[in-house]
């Protein structure tokens, strides 16, 4: 029943840390330091950028600031009304006391206004902050749809997601608190002003305790923040270790690491406990300080104010009002210092957000770009194309070739020969540095990306499926495809049978990235998806991973069906695919070195025939040493 099992823990700890043995070469969880949490308090450029998102709501900003001011004013006025009632409406023995009624009426009015103002302020601010949050996120997401793939290649998805979530959230927090800060500042100054106005000397005396709090907080804040950050960090370290244990549980169990890991985790959990206790100490130490200062201020009012009342120098109502103000007086100071941290965090987040928003869009439609007509001939041509992700290191050098309408061309070559880059260029994922890529006779840079995408279907090496039904995935490209069309396509590529065997058939929900299907099955669905797209041109990167021979056979058949009646550019790895092509283009080090069909190339006795004669089922299986040997002899011929 007891889930802590303290006895067990002790035993294990002693086993792992047996005396003398050096510490294990082991860790649980990773120790990577998180991104910077705090920035400068105020960064003009970032505020400007954020303001651009708030601008559309500026009318609401004005309304909410006005509401905050009114709200604060009513809060200030209530003790004054009480003071008036006490001093003018409660003289004992008076029969007629209109002043009391007036005060109560004023009080009623004040609280009605207070109610309305607080309602408006909180609704408007709250909803506006939510809107801005979603707007920023949408702007970033939309921008990421357009930025060049080379940025996406370099950037981890997880990193981007933390921008789209964590950083955007801290902006929202910032917006909410900054409007509230206005209220806090006004309240603070308002209380100071009203106190001094009611009685200058008593006011000054009472306010004299305020700097003490400021000074204390100045010393307290950096230390407390360090303690809070340490708590935050040990917490995420411990959570990270737990997540690792969950994801890697099979590896842990098969290597029998549970005991070592438990001891290591215990250290993390204990560190987490320790930092949290320290943080709690720092958080709580302010409580008696604030309470003592409040007590001190009240004591001043009672002694000094009280004797002034005794001497007739002060109305008792004013003394009561002072006592009320004192109780409210430290709240704005406390929340303002907290908002300071929020500001710093927001600036750091804002910096990261603008970094994403500022990523240049390299590939974009040029003004007046043409729409690629579905009636184009379907040819693909490379004319003296030079391209490199880094312009100084071209991956393709003066590559020229043409794929005629309806022809299937296999691109073949060792790893790093530039096959994948050539494929990406047909779709204009990147722009060439020299020469041009023509689709249907048009330079791809003169066409709209949208229409180019409609006519060039792509099947990637790693078939990526989206969460959703099989049906939705197959018609991903063509949202208006009917069920019959989808089923027909699935039948054509030989996916129908296994789809029907899924729980729910075409309406079966695929897990994250199609996780519940095998690689081969995912491949077949991605074929069906390309078939439904029914584009004139098909660009296909064959999977290199080993698929079991049965599925492999299905895939080969599907491929033939897929290429029927369209122009095909295939990065081929399997000999079967290569031999089935109308023409083979052999790439090496970014250059076309041979072209022809299988028999022609075999007769020629160049690199292709050498590779082929090595007798591997797939070009990717060829060992590097042999590849190098053939490449050298190939380039000499």
């Amino acid at each position: 029943m007891a889930p802590d099992g303290a006895g067990e823990i002790e035993v294990e700890r002693n086993e792992v840390r047996d005396g003398g043995r050096r510490p294990p070469r082991a860790v649980v969880g990773s120790h990577r330091i998180e991104e910077e949490m705090f920035g400068r308090v105020f960064d003009k450029n970032i505020v400007k950028r954020i303001w651009a998102f708030v601008r559309p709501y500026r009318a609401r900003v004005i309304i909410s600031v006005a509401a905050v001011l009114i709200f604060t004013a009513t809060q200030l006025v209530i003790p004054l009304i009480i003071r008036y009632a006490i001093d003018n409406g409660m003289a004992p023995g008076e029969i007629d006391h209109p002043a009391l009624l007036y005060s109560v009426a004023a009080f009623a009015l004040a609280i009605l206004i207070n109610y309305a103002a607080s309602y408006i302020q909180e609704t408007v601010v709250g909803q506006m902050a939510e809107n801005v949050l979603f707007d920023i996120r949408r702007a970033m997401f939309g921008h990421l749809q357009k930025v060049s793939l080379s940025f996406m290649d370099k950037t981890e998805v997880g990193r981007l997601m933390s921008r789209l979530q964590g950083d955007v959230n801290s902006m929202q927090e910032f917006l909410e608190t900054s409007v509230l800060s206005v209220g806090d500042i006004v309240l603070l100054f308002g209380i100071v002003f009203v106190m001094l106005w009611l009685d200058f000397r008593l006011g000054l005396l009472t306010l004299s305790v305020m700097p003490i709090l400021f000074i204390v907080r100045i010393f307290w804040l950096p230390r407390a923040r360090e303690a809070f950050m340490a708590a935050h960090e040990t917490n995420s370290v411990a959570n990270g270790a737990l997540a690792e244990a969950i994801h890697g549980v099979r590896a842990v169990q098969s290597m029998d690491r549970q005991q070592v890991n438990f001891t290591l985790y215990d250290d993390k959990a204990a560190a987490n406990l320790k930092t949290h206790l320290t943080a709690a100490k720092y958080a709580q130490v302010m409580v008696p300080i604030v309470d003592s200062l409040t007590g001190l201020a009240m004591a001043f009012v009672i002694v000094v104010g009280g004797s002034m009342v005794l001497n007739g120098g002060l109305d008792v109502g004013i003394m009561v009002a002072f006592l009320f103000y004192i109780q409210r007086f430290f709240d704005p100071i406390r929340s303002l210092t907290l908002q300071y941290s929020v500001m710093q965090r927001a600036m750091a987040s804002g910096k990261r957000l603008t970094d994403v928003l500022d990523v240049r869009i390299d590939v974009k439609d040029k003004p007046g770009a043409k729409v690629l007509s579905p009636d184009m001939d379907g040819s693909v041509e490379f004319k003296d194309v030079t391209f490199g992700y880094d312009p100084k290191q071209p991956v393709l050098k003066d590559v020229s070739f043409r794929v005629n309408p309806g022809e299937t061309v296999a691109l073949v070559g060792p790893t790093g020969s530039g096959k994948s880059s050539a494929m990406a260029l047909v779709h204009r994922f990147y722009d060439v540095q020299k020469g041009e890529v023509l689709v249907g006779g048009h330079d791809v840079r003169d066409l709209t990306q949208e229409s180019l995408g409609r006519q060039v279907a792509m099947v990637l090496q790693e078939p990526f499926l989206f969460t959703g039904t099989v049906f939705e995935n197959i018609r991903y490209h063509k949202a208006d495809a009917t069920r019959d069309q989808v089923i027909e396509a699935a039948r054509a590529v030989g996916a129908h049978d296994f789809i029907m065997s899924l729980d729910g058939g075409y309406d079966a929900i695929l897990g994250e990235r199609g996780g519940n299907l095998s690689l081969g099955q995912r491949q077949l669905i991605s074929f069906a998806r390309a078939l439904v797209a029914d584009a004139k041109i098909l660009v296909l990167d064959e999977a290199t991973a080993n698929i079991d021979s049965y599925t492999e056979m299905l895939i080969q058949k599907a491929l033939i069906r897929l290429l029927q009646g369209r122009t095909g550019l295939v990065i081929a790895h399997r000999l079967a695919t290569i031999r089935g092509a109308d023409r083979i283009i052999v790439l090496q080090n970014g250059q076309v070195i041979e072209t022809g069909n299988h028999d022609q190339l075999m007769a020629k006795g160049g690199l292709y025939s050498k590779l082929y004669n090595l007798n591997y089922a797939s070009f990717d299986d060829i060992p590097e040493a042999e590849l190098e040997a053939s490449a050298q002899s190939g380039s000499q011929t």
């Binding site: 802590d4 860790v27 969880g29 990773s30 990577r32 009632a85 006490i86 006391h97 109560v104 004040a110 207070n114 109610y115 309602y119 909180e122 609704t123 939510e130 979603f134 949408r138 793939l149 996406m152 998805v157 997601m161 789209l164 964590g166 959230n169 737990l242 997540a243 549980v249 099979r250 590896a251 169990q253 290597m255 029998d256 690491r257 549970q258 438990f262 985790y265 959990a269 406990l273 206790l277 007590g295 004591a299 009280g306 009342v309 005794l310 003394m319 009561v320 994922f429 995408g453 990637l460 969460t467 490209h477 998806r529 056979m553 058949k557 029927q564 079967a576 089922a617 990717d620 060992p623």
Partner: protein, 622 residues
């Protein structure tokens, strides 16, 4: 506590995490169990509760002292000797007030600190318990339960239970003290005015509870909607090439907007719920204050009460305002602790399917002979589907057994049964004649190593990853295992060599490199039985053959089992089993099976000269 943990943890809340609304009885027993856990820290609990009672009492004297001081200024108007006495009376009041304030502050500090400390200690204990449980639960459990749900339990639900003491229990004491004693004091001073002053309490308490519970329900719903949005974004960014390839940006934006809009609408609704509530609470509070002012003012005029008493009432109301508003938080804390607790305890109380038998002994390996005796197996939860049927075979030290067969034939299941990732449902597996179910799990898993299909890399250095199963290993051994798996040269080429961090947040390795690292890792274990579960699929044929050559020496004094679909990986085996539909349908050496001309032969033909007939088909068709 930390928002990023919540963000990642709420990604997936499904089946397991959604415990059906637990009945009252169960909820209550969960709360009792948490309370009992709290009581196991008796000193801290005593300090926390004791400080709460003292702090609340001190808090309640403040309005009295203020009222007294106000009255002291009233009684002696007129000055003179009476004035001097009044001034010293004021001084005493002031000093009392100052002392009370300081003491209240100190006791509130200890109250809050110990309340948190109890929670953090419980959190620590629960973390360890959770971690240990998750580590020990069998594969069948992890197959069934989504990792996201476990993360939710281990992070969010644990927080809910941890916070129970400070946000629920201590607050009950505090509120009972403040409201109860406060009400008694006020009503005994002046019943009418007392009732008026307290009139806002039931309304605010009720409103804030209802709203909190509603906010909680909508929060869960919002997390669900946000997780859809997260998924849309994550998939889009992960699959950005597909999106671009199909020119589907517009479609993706639409998907994003749909998910975003549904989340935004709910977020707005939640702002509404929150605001309607806070404004109404503030209003009712001020309304009560207005009434006290009106009625109290009249009473002052009538000479029934003093101005000081009125001030006491008003101050008392200000003091009570905050805690009463927090009534809702308290109710919420109970609700949260009850649901979170039942999920957490649900996990902690689970039975572990595969564990040491009561009389388990460490394996005693002499010959190292592995034997399957009529082994049958069905996955838990799918008992009617036999995955393996009467599988029998034997492998002696130095022998290699190859297992091949179509997908879903049960090959990998064989691999998972030997280290007892699952227990057989029929027959037995023995090592040197000892039933593996009678051996301790630790000794079994040290003797049997499986090189898994999809290797999990830990986010740490390559060195630590290789030495994962033997963290005390010497560097030389690590390097040797790495050489063995044909990984050494690659690692030396990395900027930080063996110190390079890999894994989710480190350098990403290709599938083949990952598999090689897994092989190296397994070599470190010095197992008596080593199983390659399709673990060379992503390694190119040449490297694989080099690994095989290196294996030869290693395999001499152990049993090797190779499961693969690439025949070249297992052609050399002493015995090849062809598995289909959970049964061994053919067995023999490569030559024997080829000669037999059965299924193995067909597979061989298919792989060695890939489908000539298909190429003809292609020539005719395309």
């Amino acid at each position: 506590m930390s928002s990023d943990a919540i963000g990642s943890a709420t990604k997936a809340r499904n089946s397991f995490a959604h415990v059906e609304a637990a009945g009252w009885g169960q909820g209550l027993s969960t709360l009792l169990r948490i309370t009992r856990m709290n009581l196991r820290h008796p000193w801290q609990v005593t300090f926390a509760i004791g400080s709460t009672i003292i702090a609340a009492t001190l808090q309640l004297t403040i309005p009295q002292l203020l009222g007294r001081a106000v009255d002291q200024t009233q009684t002696a108007i007129g000055g003179g000797a009476e004035g001097a006495a009044a001034e010293s009376a004021l001084l005493i009041s002031a000093l009392l007030l100052l002392t009370v304030s300081i003491l209240r502050g100190l006791f509130t500090m200890t109250q809050n600190y110990y309340a948190e400390a109890v929670g953090h200690h419980i959190g620590y204990e629960l973390r360890l318990a959770c971690y240990e449980k998750i580590q020990r639960l069998s594969f069948s459990f992890h197959d069934r339960v989504h990792s996201g749900d476990l993360i939710t339990i281990g992070m969010l639900d644990l927080e809910g239970v941890r916070m129970y003491f400070s946000t629920a229990l201590v607050r009950v004491v505090l509120l009972t003290m403040l409201i109860g004693i406060g009400a008694y004091l006020l009503i005994s001073t002046d019943p009418v005015l007392g009732l008026l002053a307290l009139s806002f309490v039931p309304f605010v308490g009720w409103r804030s509870s209802v709203t909190r519970l509603k906010l909680r329900a909508t929060w869960l719903e919002l997390q669900e909607r946000l997780s859809v949005l997260t998924r849309v974004m994550e998939e889009n960014l992960g699959g950005i090439r597909v999106v671009r390839a199909f020119a589907a940006q517009a479609h993706e934006m639409m998907k994003f907007d749909r998910a975003s809009k549904s989340a935004l609408e709910l977020a707005h609704e939640r702002v509404g719920i929150r605001v309607r509530n806070t404004s109404a609470m503030t209003f009712s509070f001020f309304l009560a204050m207005g009434l006290v002012l009106l009625v109290g003012g009249n009473k002052v005029v009538a000479g029934e009460i003093s101005v000081g008493t009125l001030a006491t009432f008003l101050t008392f109301m200000t003091i009570l305002q905050m805690p009463v508003r927090q009534l809702g938080m308290m109710v919420n804390a109970f609700a949260r602790a009850s649901t979170c607790g039942s999920r957490l305890f649900g996990l902690l109380d689970l039975d572990i399917a595969v564990k040491d038998a009561p009389d388990a002994k460490p394996l005693d390996i002499t010959d190292g002979t592995l034997r399957f005796n009529n082994v049958s197996f069905a996955y838990p939860g799918a008992q009617d589907r036999q995955v393996l049927k009467n599988v029998s075979f034997e492998a002696r030290k130095g022998e290699t057994v190859g297992i091949v067969g179509p997908p879903g034939s049960g090959k990998s299941t064989i691999a998972h049964l030997i280290p007892r990732f699952y227990d057989v449902t029929g027959g037995a597996i023995t090592l040197d004649g000892q039933d593996i179910r009678k051996a301790t799990l630790a000794s079994l898993r040290q003797s049997v190593a499986v090189v898994q299909q999809d290797a999990f890399l830990f986010t740490t250095t390559i060195e630590n990853n290789i030495a994962y199963g033997d963290p005390w290993a010497k560097e030389r051994r690590i390097a040797r295992a790495s050489e063995f798996a044909q990984l050494h040269n690659y690692v030396l080429g990395l900027p930080a060599g063996y110190g390079t961090v890999v894994g989710e947040r480190g350098v990403s390795l290709s599938g083949g490199q990952r598999q090689r690292l897994t092989i190296a890792r397994t070599m470190m274990l010095k197992p008596s039985v080593i199983v390659f579960d399709d673990s060379t699929a992503a390694i190119d044929a040449a490297t694989e053959s080099r690994i095989r050559t290196a294996m030869r020496r290693f395999a001499k004094d152990r049993v090797t089992i190779v499961i693969a679909h690439r025949l070249s990986s297992l052609m050399h085996a002493d015995q090849i089993l062809f598995v289909e539909g959970g049964e061994i349908v053919e067995r023999g050496t490569h030559e024997e099976l080829l000669a037999k001309g059965g299924r193995y032969r067909a597979l061989y033909d298919l792989q060695v000269r890939p489908g000539e007939e298909m190429l003809d088909e292609a020539g005719g068709g395309g």
